[in-house]
């Protein structure tokens, strides 16, 4: 018993020695890491088509302005509804969209005294089981002339038939499941490229434009990650290296073994098919492990949190998204109105709400005329050119590639 005190002291010394070692060696890498990652942001790089080729924004196109000419008149009960997750774990996306719509309506109402359009947000919590009840509410609200939403693919699938029967415009800013436009819903329009466009476009971009010869495709176990990885792998063809095609799990934070496999494969690029929560530690560990290959990922990773969590390891990462970048003026107005920076799909929501406002200003007084207006619409928005084919898909669906820099 008596010897325990000196022994404990000895143990304490060893612990301290271990920590000293960390302290000593932490000096070595410090030259490269002085904490400047605060400057890194996700910036738009290039807009691409399905062949992976750059598409320049059409010159001379002026984005539609919700303010219009200021002379519009309409009933004061005219309402634009928005449906999506406004509370719960997935609320961030829904709020981005709701705010985009609100901003467009605000700019419209400020300019048009005689046409004060109302906004109504309907919270589905993003849940396909709860959405049908909410859809009934929207449909029975006689003032609702057009709907921006639903936000997610699952809830859109669950409610599409009801909106179709009611003849209510359903204009989504974010539901990207390709199958949604195959139901014959002639009231449904998608304001961005669907998932079947993103995968092939990004794969073609990696092979044709970026010139990667060997790519490791790493996927997580979500529906999104598995589906996208499949499309990317097909699109990459022989450039996809099967020996380093890895699967990880949503929630994983340690990727030591995956890093080892990728290190021995020595690819030109890594495509991560999943969300930022895993992508951030993954890219950080790849860089620590000495893998310098380009890190490529898609809209699941295209979030400021990715850069925040990964720091300088995220530098140079390529992130695709069907969502368009927010122009500076839009960003300023958005921040002034809501006190937060705009997010993914805010611009799309703003553009789509603007189109509905144009319909109202043009004299549309019922649901059918709004649907007809959108069907025949062709014009530029902040994010892209909007014109729909007979199924409700954009006639030219493009993908943006962003880069962390």
């Amino acid at each position: 018993m008596r010897s325990s005190t000196p022994r404990l002291a000895g143990v304490a010394l060893v612990t301290i020695a271990g920590l000293v070692l960390v302290g000593c060696s932490s000096k070595a890498p410090s030259a490269s890491s002085t904490g400047t990652s605060g400057a890194l942001t996700i910036q738009p790089l290039v807009q691409i088509d399905k062949a992976g080729k750059e598409v320049k924004s059409q010159a001379g196109g002026t984005a539609a302005n919700p303010a219009g000419d200021g002379k519009a008149t309409c009933a004061s009960t005219t309402t634009i509804a928005m449906a999506g997750a406004l509370t719960g774990a997935n609320a961030a996306l829904g709020i981005n969209i709701a705010n985009g719509v609100k901003l467009a309506i605000k700019q419209h109402n400020d300019a048009n005294k005689d046409c004060q359009v109302q906004f109504k947000g309907f919270d589905t919590e993003g849940d396909p089981a709860k959405a049908p009840a909410v859809a009934t509410q929207i449909i029975n609200d006689a003032n609702v002339i057009g709907l921006i939403g639903p936000a997610f693919s699952g809830e859109t699938k669950a409610t599409g038939a009801a909106f179709h029967d009611a003849g209510l415009l359903s204009l989504t800013a974010s539901a990207t499941n390709p199958a949604l436009t195959t139901n014959g819903w002639n009231n449904f329009f998608r304001g961005l490229a669907n998932d079947a466009v993103q995968g092939p476009s990004v794969a073609a971009y990696m092979v044709n434009t970026a010139g990667f010869k060997k790519v490791c495709v790493v996927k997580d176990d979500s529906d999104y990650g598995v589906g996208l990885a499949q499309q990317i792998t097909t699109g990459l063809g022989s450039a996809a290296d099967a020996s380093c095609a890895l699967s990880v799990k949503t929630g994983d934070k340690d990727f030591s073994s995956a890093v080892q496999s990728i290190k021995s494969a020595a690819p030109d690029a890594i495509f991560y098919s999943g969300y930022y929560a895993e992508a951030a530690p993954f890219v950080a560990q790849l860089r620590t492990g000495g893998v310098t290959a380009t890190f490529v990922s898609a809209d699941g990773t295209n979030d400021p949190q990715f850069v925040k969590q990964a720091g300088s390891a995220s530098k140079g990462a390529l992130l695709s998204c069907p969502c368009g970048p927010a122009p500076a003026d839009f960003e300023k107005a958005y921040e002034a109105a809501f006190n937060v920076s705009s997010g993914v799909y805010s611009v799309e929501a703003y553009d789509l709400a603007t189109i509905v406002l144009k319909a109202i200003d043009g004299g549309a007084k019922d649901r059918a005329s709004v649907v007809n207006f959108v069907k025949g619409y062709s014009g530029d928005g902040l994010a892209r050119h909007y014109q729909w084919d007979s199924t409700g898909e954009l006639s030219s669906a493009l993908i943006w590639i962003y880069q962390v820099k």
Partner: protein
């Protein structure tokens, strides 16, 4: 379906995997001690211990924020002495929060049950409930209390005190300062705990209660105090493990970040023989290494499966774990 069965990859990066495995294993081992001690004394599997570990991660993070560290993506550049000091402070922060949380948990959740003589099953369910309560506290309540600087849906933006740098290589596998620090500190702490349990008056109290609570009480050992001490030691070690874990996985500080690790640590405790201190250490290291080998051979998504299959296989041949249950035995 097996995505791949790749023995070649195992041979290729055997040593790198071993080192990763040992690093992870020593973290498992430290957390496993908490499970094993509480089990030894109370015959209770404290499933909320993983959340004690999670709170430790937030504890060391909060401590660093209090010392003026702002989260950023990259490692800080400080002198040796400072880095060292802050590591020490962070560890103390983690230990204090985890230790306090463990003792608090015992008071609030388990002691009232013990007073009323609740059956063992009730303790187990309470433990699971407490685990959820603590997770959701960090998920929903903590961000409101701290003005969104701590907790919430997303992982904390990391504060990296040390950036990993290679110290030397063994058979082509690099060993970083972080690896060494984790293994050395964990072994030192495990050894200290072993000495404390087996070589001090307090430790004798713990062992006596584990062996025979009634006789121990008759001999003047305060059972309640021993129980509190047991939870405290487990919590403090989990707090230390929390710092070591965040050195290795800076992005892991999230409300549900302790759950899987806790289950693995519990596995490690059972693997080595629950109730057995040295067993926890052995089980942790073994599990860490096996898990690395396994996921390389079978594919990354099989990591957790490998850990549990190893457990099942060992228990088939040694139902009490590798070293057997022995906290209360005379020799241990």
């Amino acid at each position: 379906m097996l995505a791949s069965f790749d023995i070649g990859a195992l041979g290729h990066s055997f040593w790198a995997l071993t080192i990763s495995g040992l690093t992870y294993g020593s973290i498992y081992a430290l957390v496993a001690v908490g499970y094993t001690l509480v089990y030894g004394v109370l015959r209770l599997i404290n499933f909320a211990h993983s959340e004690i570990f999670m709170l430790g991660m937030f504890g060391q993070y909060a401590a660093l924020m209090m010392f003026g560290f702002a989260p950023q993506g990259d490692a800080y550049d400080m002198g040796v002495a400072q880095t060292l000091m802050y590591l020490g402070l962070a560890m103390i922060g983690g230990m204090v929060v985890s230790g306090a949380a463990a003792v608090g948990l015992e008071r609030v959740a388990y002691r009232p049950l013990r007073r009323r003589g609740a059956p063992a099953l009730v303790f187990l369910i309470t433990a699971i409930g407490a685990s959820f309560v603590l997770q959701e506290f960090v998920h929903f309540v903590l961000p409101k209390l701290t003005n969104n600087t701590l907790g919430g849906l997303n992982a904390q933006q990391p504060i990296r005190l040390v950036s990993p740098s290679t110290q030397f290589t063994i058979f082509g596998a690099t060993v970083t300062n972080v690896d060494i620090a984790i293994v050395v500190s964990a072994l030192a702490l495990a050894f200290a705990t072993d000495r404390f349990i087996n070589g001090t008056k307090f430790g004798r109290g713990i062992r006596s209660v584990a062996q025979d609570p009634v006789t121990a009480t008759l001999m003047g050992v305060s059972r309640e105090r021993v129980i509190m001490l047991t939870f405290l030691i487990g919590g403090v070690l989990a707090g230390a493990a929390a710092l070591l874990y965040t050195l290795r996985v800076p992005n892991g500080i999230i409300y549900n970040g302790g759950f899987i690790l806790g289950i693995k640590a519990f596995c490690a405790a059972v693997l080595g023989g629950i109730g057995n201190l040295r067993g926890a250490l052995l089980g942790g290291l073994l599990l860490g290494v096996m898990e690395m080998y396994g996921q390389t051979v079978f594919g990354n998504e099989w990591r957790d499966v490998v850990a549990f299959v190893v457990l099942v296989l060992v228990l088939m041949f040694r139902p009490t774990g590798i070293l057997g249950e022995s906290l209360g035995r005379a020799r241990a």
